[in-house]
């Protein structure tokens, strides 16, 4: 076992460099909030746990309902926040705008200023969404970005980019995949992927 071969448990380099200024600031503010009894450590932990528990499955439920219930879809496009709350999803302060893709219009969401994302429905954003490259290129050359995500659009499909610069958050309502007539909401929800609700992709096919 140990005769000159690399040990199977080679030490992995620590992923902990020196703290950044922002990390220091966060630790200091957290310590102060606890010390001043404004928050408890358990409340902070619980909030982090709740944030981590949100996932694209919530958004997929909304999309699947909109695909099967035209009245719900109309309410969702009119007031995204209220329609999601109807399904029991806690939206908090999120003001949601739902943008509907059709065979003629494809929607794509980006936040060029930072990383605004509909966390209440999709959880934490993926790293690429926060990258400077995606943020800069999604507005300037959306079709090239879409192609890199494997999404080929015909030239006559309109691309509508939504830059999430202020108080709204955006969810794409993708086109319902063909061949799913009569499917249950649960089965449809499995086709509504995270990336299709950001708009870099389209849903899975039936």
């Amino acid at each position: 076992m140990h005769d000159g071969h690399p040990h199977p448990h080679d030490r992995r380099p620590d992923n902990e460099g020196p703290l950044t200024d922002y990390q220091r600031m966060e630790i200091a503010i957290r310590a102060l909030l606890i010390e001043k009894r404004i928050l408890t450590a358990d409340e902070i932990r619980r909030t982090v746990e709740a944030m981590d528990a949100r996932s694209p499955a919530l958004g997929a439920r909304v999309v699947a309902r909109a695909w099967t219930d035209p009245a719900f879809k109309a309410r969702l496009l009119g007031d995204g926040t209220a329609a999601c709350e109807e399904l029991g999803i806690r939206m908090g302060a999120t003001k949601l705008v739902v943008v509907e893709s059709t065979p003629a219009v494809h929607n794509l969401v980006v936040c060029t200023l930072c990383s605004c994302y509909p966390r209440a429905l999709l959880g934490l954003p993926p790293d690429w969404y926060k990258s400077r490259s995606y943020r800069a290129r999604a507005v300037r050359e959306p079709r090239a970005v879409l192609r890199e995500f494997g999404t080929e659009l015909a030239d006559d499909v309109t691309v509508r980019v939504h830059d999430s610069t202020a108080d709204m958050r955006y969810l794409v309502l993708p086109v319902r995949p063909a061949g799913t007539e009569g499917w249950s909401e649960e089965r449809l929800a499995a086709l509504a992927t995270r990336d299709s609700m950001v708009g870099v992709s389209v849903p899975k096919t039936a």
């Binding site: 060029t112 200023l113 006559d156 830059d163 610069t165």
Partner: protein
């Protein structure tokens, strides 16, 4: 504050570069577009960022721009658009004769 613009109005984004925390991306300053919807009124983030209350709340709009007008080398359909949230104090009525979305 009641909104100064309504959906369909042609507007121009102010071409200004003040210091501070701003939510109006550089690439859209000076560009002409059309109000897509009124989002409501929100405390001014330029004030909130410095610990002030941001009141009175400012009307916020979604404005639609034509991509080919924003990026001269844009590769895509003529109808492609970009929509951005912009606070009222960054918008002016579009000047006569200017082409817009």
């Amino acid at each position: 504050m009641s909104p100064r613009f309504k959906p369909g109005d042609a507007v121009t984004v102010r071409r200004a570069y003040p210091p501070g925390h701003l939510r109006t991306p550089h690439y859209i300053r000076g560009q002409a577009g059309v109000v897509e919807r009124i989002c409501g009124s929100f405390p001014n983030p330029e004030e909130l960022a410095f610990g002030r209350d941001g009141l009175p709340a400012r009307p916020l709009y979604r404005v639609r721009f034509v991509q080919k007008q924003i990026w001269p080398d844009y590769r895509g359909a003529q109808a492609d658009t970009i929509e951005i949230e912009i606070y009222e104090h960054w918008l002016e009525p579009a000047t006569e004769g200017k082409t817009h979305a």
